[in-house]
């Protein structure tokens, strides 16, 4: 196996499983962070089912669906970047990483237009327009902004991580027999995708 060979030559201590375990522990703290918000969402939706439905009609389902597909595709290109580096195809891996960043930026651009459209209709946390509405709607939009906002923050952090990984691959710090950094970056990116998989039906698909 090429990996035990290189470990024997390099004499560098490496614990890839330990590295991934650490990443997973971090991901669980993220799951609990978002989990708490999903819990708040669940309770308030249970208390205000009709108003949540009413408020959700104002979200753009087509844009939400488009962004879901963009994010799923970015997850694919991320995992393909790992397959490419495993096969020692550096250029291809760099191409997939760049595509992942590209899709992430498309996602953020769509989010920008969605949010500015809401702002121009006077809907943002604490706005007079929003506060004049009933409690359920205020809660819906409050949760919408905080949850998709925190998710968008994760997308931005993910982009920064992937840009670092791009440099690592380019400079040969991540190679076909040492790519645990790329795997851990990928895990983070897939978690971002995973959270969106739940945010999407809960906010955009209530009818």
């Amino acid at each position: 196996m090429s990996q035990s060979d290189s470990a024997a030559i390099g004499h560098v201590h490496r614990d890839d499983i330990g590295a991934k375990m650490g990443m997973w522990v971090f991901l669980f703290t993220e799951v609990l962070l978002f989990g708490g918000m999903f819990l708040v969402y669940a309770v308030y939706r249970f208390q205000h089912p009709e108003l949540f439905k009413l408020a959700a009609f104002e979200l753009n389902t087509a844009l939400g669906t488009f962004n879901t597909i963009v994010l799923l595709t970015s997850s694919l290109t991320m995992v393909l970047a790992i397959v490419a580096i495993q096969k020692n195809k550096k250029k291809l891996s760099l191409f997939y990483l760049a595509s992942t960043v590209g899709f992430a930026l498309v996602f953020m651009a769509v989010k920008y237009f969605e949010w500015t459209a809401k702002f121009s209709h006077g809907i943002y946390p604490g706005s007079d327009e929003l506060l004049s509405r009933q409690n359920g709607e205020i809660l819906f939009f409050g949760l919408y902004f905080i949850m998709t906002g925190l998710h968008a923050l994760h997308v931005i952090i993910g982009v920064i991580i992937i840009l670092f990984l791009y440099v690592f691959v380019k400079r040969g710090k991540v190679t076909h027999d040492n790519y645990v950094k790329l795997e851990n970056g990928g895990l983070y990116w897939h978690l971002v995708d995973l959270i969106w998989i739940f945010l999407f039906p809960l906010f955009y698909l209530i009818h």
């Binding site: 470990a7 499983i17 330990g18 609990l32 309770v43 795997e183 998989i197």
Partner: protein, 98 residues
């Protein structure tokens, strides 16, 4: 595969497997959007969550590679999932029977 060393295990999955998983995820997305247009009343939410659960199963098992990882990772995942579930159940007991 070799015995328990701490390096990567080789998985010779080609690009094809992941493209298939991606196609499945896109298909499930179109299903959940289509289903949302139909009035299923009270079971609309369980249906949407069920589809989301299948999608996350695909992402976790294939993209996040859990299916091919050491058993300890599955234990980790189960533990955190159960923790979240317990928090949800206890909170809902409080909300329902208040």
């Amino acid at each position: 595969m070799e015995q328990g060393n701490t390096e990567h295990k080789e998985h010779s999955h080609g690009y094809g497997l992941y493209v298939l998983v991606w196609l499945g995820l896109i298909a499930l997305t179109s299903i959940t959007v289509t289903v949302a247009g139909v009035d299923f009343g009270n079971i609309a939410l369980p249906i949407a969550l069920f589809i989301a659960a299948i999608k996350s199963g695909l992402v976790i098992n294939y993209f996040m590679h859990i299916k091919f990882e050491e058993p300890i990772f599955k234990v980790f995942l189960l533990l955190s999932g159960m923790t979240l579930l317990v928090i949800f159940i206890l909170t809902f007991f409080d909300v329902f029977y208040r």
